[in-house]
């Protein structure tokens, strides 16, 4: 098992290196001149040349690469043109909010998605299956930014039940910053008012973000359950009189989830994409929102750093899902 973990981590190294290379090359091989883009529309050739020199674009590629790797290792991505602070600092400060949001969405998606998928699979081709299928396929087809607006329209603007945007109501005194996660910080400070307020702010963005994942998890779980129900061991377990509930919710479920877990890891990418949109609509102070603003102002340093950071998180999440997968499936433990 330890060997498996080690191998899986080692296996990710070339991917991470590739990630560095791609982000490095990306800016340098696009047909557009990055210096010209950076300099803006009305820049003189001298200004462009100056920027080119400032960023090192006029040096040999290998030298640029060495410089780049050196910077990355030190988590130094330069200063953002958009916030005029160090990009690394900005990202670090905003990551907890994004994690807060994505984790909340992931929890919603998993807690609802797996049981829904099981119910649909067990009632294959009967009405519960039909309802779940229609809902899940709609969930995937729905544009996150649109449903976000619709939810805002209904729950924030019309009904006024939940806050429209942001992480915290204005006029509240924020708790001392420890983790940059408002929920955790308010808990540490024992500020229940802030905690409740933060939770209320979290509901709409988290629900919006969870929809796509919820639909996906439901579908994969359903497919896994359907596949597992075809297996001989289910027939055997019925023949020897396992109670039906335990059969489904323990013995079938574990097999079904195995197939779903790796898929969920792969879909984490679209989860992050969703976070980018949802954060910018709900004005959530996470890296997604930050990155979009930076990209809109052509802040290429932030672009690179965010791409790298998210790629890194994606890779880590996939290692994690592979490990969960292996943990669930003992057949993988001693595989060559």
């Amino acid at each position: 098992m330890l060997r498996f973990v080690l191998r899986r981590v080692l296996y990710a190294l070339p991917s991470l290196f590739g990630l560095l290379m791609v982000t490095f090359l990306l800016v340098r091989i696009v047909p557009a001149d990055p210096a010209a883009v950076l300099a803006g529309d009305n820049a003189t050739p001298q200004q462009i040349a100056a920027i080119r020199h400032q960023y090192g674009f006029d040096r040999p590629l290998t030298e640029q690469l060495a410089l780049y790797l050196n910077q990355v290792m030190r988590f130094d991505f330069g200063e953002s043109q958009y916030s005029h602070r160090a990009v690394g600092f900005d990202l670090r400060q905003r990551l907890p909010a994004t994690l807060e949001l994505t984790l909340a969405a992931l929890v919603i998606a998993t807690v609802l998605g797996i049981p829904l998928g099981v119910v649909a699979g067990v009632f294959h081709n009967r009405w519960p299956d039909f309802v779940v299928r229609v809902l899940s396929i709609t969930g995937i087809a729905i544009a996150s930014f649109w449903i976000a607006i619709m939810l805002q329209l209904l729950f924030a603007m019309q009904l006024g039940w939940l806050p429209l945007r942001g992480e915290m109501s204005s006029g509240i005194d924020p708790p001392p910053v420890v983790t940059h996660s408002l929920i955790l910080d308010s808990l540490f400070a024992g500020r229940w008012d802030v905690f409740g307020d933060a939770l209320r702010h979290l509901v709409l963005p988290a629900v919006t973000l969870s929809l796509g994942g919820l639909a996906t998890i439901t579908r994969f779980t359903r497919a896994g359950v359907l596949e597992t129900l075809q297996k001989d061991f289910v027939l055997y377990e019925r023949a020897v009189g396992y109670p039906k509930r335990r059969l489904i919710w323990v013995y079938v479920l574990r097999n079904s989830v195995i197939a779903a877990v790796t898929q969920i890891g792969l879909l984490f990418g679209s989860f992050i994409a969703g976070a980018v949109v949802v954060e910018s609509i709900f004005d959530w102070p996470g890296i997604g929102n930050y990155t979009v603003q930076a990209i809109l102002t052509a802040d290429y340093k932030v672009m690179l750093a965010a791409t790298l950071l998210i790629g890194l998180v994606y890779t880590l999440v996939n290692i994690l899902t592979d490990l969960v997968h292996a943990w669930l499936d003992p057949r993988l433990w001693e595989q060559p």
């Binding site: 191998r7 080692l10 296996y11 060559p336």
Partner: protein
Amino acid sequence: MTGTPDLLELRDVSVRLGGQRRWLRPSVAPIQAVAAVSLRLRRGEILGLVGESGCGKTTLGRTILGLQRASDGEIRLDGEPVGDLSPKQARKRRKDIHYVHQDAAAALDPWWSIGRILEEGLAIQGLRSAAERRARVDHMLQAVGLEPGTRRRYPHELSGGQLRRVALARILVLRPRLIVLDEPTSGLDMSVQATVLNLLLELRGRFDLTYLFISHDLSVVERLCDRVAIMYLGRVVELAPTARLFARPRHPYTRALLAAVPRLDPHAARLSAAIEGEPPSAGRPPPGCVFSSRCRHAEPECREVMPELQDEAGHAVACRRWRDILPDDRHALAAGACDGPKPARRLGLAQ
């Protein structure tokens, strides 16, 4: 050695599987799938290759075909060495040898019709004329006893017996001389097996074929094959003409195998298990004789050296004690694997 050489000759052929070191992954322990096997196939004969699952019989078949490269030893076709080639070249040199898979359904592309599948082999051989391809395929479909209409059908529409015929026809249009048949009757009911086996016999005469018949079914081998080789853990432990092997098996493993076949005869004494346990893994064979770990006649010396396959009057056996153990075992074998007319035969009263 005079006259024409044997069709196929294997000398000390060994095949090791796995064992490679892999990048970032634990290396795979090597498995000696085939160990120093020597065999001759004479023109027109049917040689049975018998053993239980995992004994290396399929690997040996694939090695003969060239799809698996032998790690050691020599393979001669018509006296010419054809060993030690890459799979691609090996297939070119050994185009007279063909292979029929055990699972006939899975060996056919599910999207292709039977007619296209059969013609494909001819196209690969460079037969340009579509009309001639068609004619040869129709002819062969008829030869294996399928309706001409079969050419328009798809694999999933045919029964198990029909699929075996298609698999045979597919190989036969290529005009092979030696066919490696991998468990051609497994999974077929007794009543269907017969038609396939009769077809094999008929085709052998008609097309001048030689068969290497890989099987675990002793009753089929007994009636079909001219000679039989018994394999255990990658080694041939006994090799003899069929009648002699079934009448007087020498190797304790062969005798255990024969005794294990459940017999119809209700008067036959119920035998207790002749051997205990299950074969050890091919990755960790016991020291000395590969069968020593399960052999009740094994002596300490048996666990030291693997005995060679030694021929005596055309009956070869790889056991150092076969002479000692033969007589005392007569009674245990009385169930039918021994000499004389089988007791069961006396009941043959149907039809």
